[in-house]
Amino acid sequence: MTRPRGPGRLFAAAPLLLLGGCDALRLGFLNAAGPVAGGERHLFIIVSIVMIFVAGPVLLLTPIIAWYYRLSNKNSDYRPEWEFSWPLEGLIWIPPAGIVIGLAFLLWTYTHRYDPYTPIRSTLPAIEVQAVGLDWKWLFIYPDRGIATVNQLVIPVGQPVHLSLTSGTVMQSMLVPQLAGQIYAMAGMTTQLNLAADWPGTFIGENTQFNGMGFQQQKFAVVAIPADNYTRWLERVRQSAQPLDAAAYAQLFEKSAPASPIFYSSVPPGLFQNILAQSRAGTPQVTQ
């Protein structure tokens, strides 16, 4: 087989480029891996189908009518003073209003069902995780297990996770596209996010709210593993003998993006509440 040359080569490369392009969507909610993102994807598909009927007529009628009634077409009707028709008026007000009313019911239902604060229905209890947005990293505290991690959120497959979020610095927003929509994390305040993974895998999480020069590096991995592996992982971290002590804590609040995840074998109790209280009181904690 001879390799195509010149422009032919470009044509041969085009489908490859497009295939590579669809690769990108694997990382997003269209490749949902959990019940929340899955439900939101479902809504996306419904809305997309409805929208075909909204945009379709405009996309068809605009060019057809403009071309048919062009100046050079001698056969088209010309009624320069025709400017109103009740039936047409009904046609352009009533169906769009009807569609919006229909979508409103859909919106109401889905907004409540997939509100970030709505717990995920499951026979298993939700795992509590506290997330703190820092410059430019995420601290995840497992309060019930007494451990913490930076830039890696390990969760068991199939079990709901309930995140409480705050920020140790400016406003941030946590998004794991394949698992759930985002929520802001704001200093001195707590927001909540529920998510779960349906199958094992590593999913990219990120901060989407610009917060300074290391913003683009503020990514983390959500690692979903089977339940027994999760228990073993907890044990391993607990035995790693790297506590989140005062020195480690001070380091966390420095402006930096760690190259790899960090695991802390123990955390001081009430750390999350302390960070909240410090933010409200204005205790200096951010190094300039």
């Binding site: 403009a66 100046l71 907004t111 400016v170 802001y184 709210q209």
Partner: protein, 694 residues
């Protein structure tokens, strides 16, 4: 410079605030680009000054343009400002697209610090110093002509508005040369923009530029609302006004009510930064959520401030170039008003992700979708206007058609984003960036460009090159699709906006396509400048002095092109909608008046330029903590206003004989012109007189 007298004189200025010094010390690509941009500003300013001096045009510029209170000249100056700022902000956009295409698992050629200034200035300029001046310019030029008035209600205030906007835009340009701009984006969200996190001058430049601009816009809104309510020609009932005037009225009302929350938000942020208040800080009772609410209480109506005038332009253009009455005038006015009112009820959709209850999100989501109904109605009204018409595919009409088809795609993604669960997924990603560009490029830029091509012959007296207009149009449309459709894909794949470096090789093809699109958009802008240059060169062949190149419908086409300073030798009497289109078919126009009277017009005033200049100087002083300059600037503003209030000789009377002579000259030109059919309106045969089909 930390000792002696210098801090008192220069505030916190330091030599390292100059990008040239930074580039000398640290010659990386990023710093050299920064210094290069600063050089362009400096060299551009020097070349402009030298050129004007060499041509001996200072006096002309000062007395004919800068101090003019003529709404037409003020309108043209606004549009010139818009084009200058569009050029800068578009180049910035291209730089960002090139950086993202280059920075896939590499740091690229623009450092994070410069990249974040780029997206902050790009957004701030495009909204406040490109879109706002452009639409304000078009409203300025067209509104008094269409309602049959000689000027706006408050001509001096109009000049002050222009110069406050100009001063603010100047401050944006100065930030390129002295110091740095904010890195907090066009919305300037605290606490990031608070002193604790951004102690540099950047957010201060942003605060004062936006504050000056927003005061200018509030004054413009007041001026045009009063103009439209009080200055209409006899017989010009509200329901006989053109759709453009309706949209100008709605935009003015929105400006009056929506700009103050922005001014308040930036002022409170300034109090935080200058006097240690805690409105939006994280600590001591401050709360940034208040800022988000105030900002978007302005920000959402702002979207309609930007889009409604474009809707007005499309209504004029589609009707004129279909040779047909506008379909559903009443329903279009109702839809316009409905949009204006509803625009105040949806601001929370900019932060569905802030943690409020599902009930609140759902209510605001439904309100957001509701706006889709009147907007959809408008699109269909334009389609039914073409229906049974005779459509001519001139440049403004091409923009209108491209708008209808592109805007509806933005509407679709807008409905998606109105759904809180979907917003959670793509908020703050490139999907959102794609959506609002998909609304604002067709919904604002195409509209303003359509208006520019449509009214240019009226304003300057000659047509723009049709060929280069089509080339520019093609580039704007192709460039838009190439640049922004990939961003939908990237956003759906989770790529956050404002990202200086990309770590996903899978994003590469989409970033390349988007980068190519940005270059095509730059070519579109270049084509517009080529078009302007060629059209000026060939102006004698394309004159339309008789004033009606498109067989127009509104009163503005019933006078010469360009119009005399006083617009109408005799204020017209209006008998219906489309008064000129109907009237010229009954032979009511192109006749000398029975009596001409003296016309009193406002004299030029230097109040506007002075207030704009010292306002910008005071703002510069505030940015750099140069307190003597702030005090002098504020005193100068107050002093100027007081001095002006003592001026008694502020009017100039144009004698009836001169008015009559000018009118006769024009009527002679009309008599000499050959009426032309619509088929050849884009050729040199078009002298501005339409053949009346029988």
């Amino acid at each position: 410079m930390s000792q002696g007298i210098w801090p008192a004189v220069l505030g916190r200025f330091d030599w390292t605030a100059l990008p040239f010094v930074l580039a000398w010390d640290n010659p990386t690509a990023s710093e050299i680009i920064g210094a290069g941009a600063a050089s362009v500003v400096v060299i551009g300013a020097v070349v402009a000054v030298v050129l004007i001096t060499w041509l001996g045009k200072w006096k002309y510029l000062w007395s004919e343009w800068l101090t003019s209170l003529d709404h037409k000249k003020i309108g043209v100056m606004y549009i010139v400002l818009a084009f200058v700022m569009l050029s800068r902000a578009l180049i910035e956009a291209v730089l960002m697209r090139m950086q993202q295409a280059d920075a896939i698992n590499s740091s690229g050629f623009i450092a994070p610090d410069h990249f974040s200034q780029l997206f902050s200035t790009h957004g701030s300029i495009m909204i406040f110093f490109m879109a706002m001046p452009f639409l304000t310019g078009v409203i300025n030029y067209v509104t008094p002509l269409q309602i049959g008035a000689r000027d706006v209600a408050f001509p001096l205030l109009n000049s002050v508005s222009l110069w406050l906007t100009g001063g603010a835009a100047g401050l944006m340009m100065v930030s390129l040369v002295v110091g740095r701009f904010s890195t907090g984006g066009w919305s300037g969200y605290p606490p990031y923009t608070e002193l604790a996190f951004s102690p540099d001058v950047g957010p201060d430049y942003w605060i004062w530029a936006v504050t000056l601009g927003s005061i200018g816009s509030t004054l413009t809104g007041l001026n045009f609302a009063v103009t439209i309510y009080k200055m209409r020609a006899p017989g010009m009932h509200l329901m006989r006004m053109t759709l453009f005037v309706w949209t100008a009225l709605c935009t003015s009302i929105l400006m009056i009510f929506a700009m103050p929350p922005l001014t308040v938000a930036t002022a409170l942020l300034a109090l935080d930064r200058y006097l240690g208040f805690h409105f939006f800080t994280s600590d001591l009772g401050g709360n940034m959520m208040n800022y988000a609410n105030l900002f978007w209480l302005f920000g959402h109506p702002e979207v309609y401030i930007l889009i409604l005038p474009a809707f007005g332009v499309y209504s004029e253009v589609v009707s004129t170039f279909s040779s047909k009455e506008l379909y559903g005038y009443t329903s279009l006015t109702i839809a316009t008003m409905a949009i204006a009112v509803l625009s105040f009820t949806v601001w929370v959709h900019h932060f569905f992700t802030m943690g409020q209850s599902a009930d609140i999100n759902a209510v605001f989501g439904i309100a957001t979708m509701t706006i889709g109904v009147p907007t959809g109605v408008k699109i269909y009204d334009w389609i039914w206007t073409m229906f049974r018409g005779r459509v001519r595919f001139t440049v403004p009409m091409l923009y209108s058609l491209a708008f209808m088809m592109t805007f509806v795609i933005g509407g679709v993604t807008g409905i998606m984003l109105a759904m809180p669960p979907l917003d959670f997924l793509v908020h703050n990603t490139l999907f959102l960036v794609a959506h609002f560009h998909n609304m604002l490029i067709p919904g604002l830029l195409y509209g303003m460009l359509a208006g520019y091509h449509y009214w240019f012959p009226k304003a300057l007296g000659f047509r723009l090159s049709e060929k280069w207009g089509r080339i520019a149009f093609g580039c704007w449309v192709i460039g838009f699709y190439l640049a922004f459709m990939p961003l939908y894909v990237l956003g759906a794949a989770g790529m956050a906006r404002r990202t200086q470096e990309v770590f996903e090789p899978a994003f590469r093809p989409w970033l390349y396509i988007a980068g190519l699109g940005a270059l095509v958009l730059l070519a579109a802008l270049a084509a517009l400048f080529v078009q302007l240059w060629l059209s000026i060169r060939e102006r004698e062949a394309n004159r339309v002095t008789a004033g009606d190149p498109w067989d127009g419908r509104g009163l503005e086409w019933s006078i010469s092109a360009p119009p005399p300073e006083y617009n109408y030798a005799v204020i017209p009497q209006v008998h219906g909608r489309d008064p000129f289109y109907a009237g010229k078919r009954k032979g009511e126009f192109y006749a000398p008046a029975a009596h001409y009277h003296d016309i009193t017009m406002p004299k030029n005033s230097m109040t506007g330029p002075v207030i704009g200049f010292v306002g910008a100087a005071a703002a510069f002083g505030l940015v750099w903590h140069i307190w003597w300059l702030v005090i002098l600037g504020v005193l100068a503003i107050v002093g100027t206003v007081i001095a002006r209030s003592f001026a008694r000789d502020v009017h100039r009377t144009i004698p009836a004989a001169e008015v009559a002579w000018t009118d006769m000259m024009w009527l002679q030109a009309v008599a000499d012109a050959t009426p032309i059919p619509r088929q050849i309106e884009t050729t040199s045969a078009n002298q501005g007189l339409a053949e009346i089909a029988t």
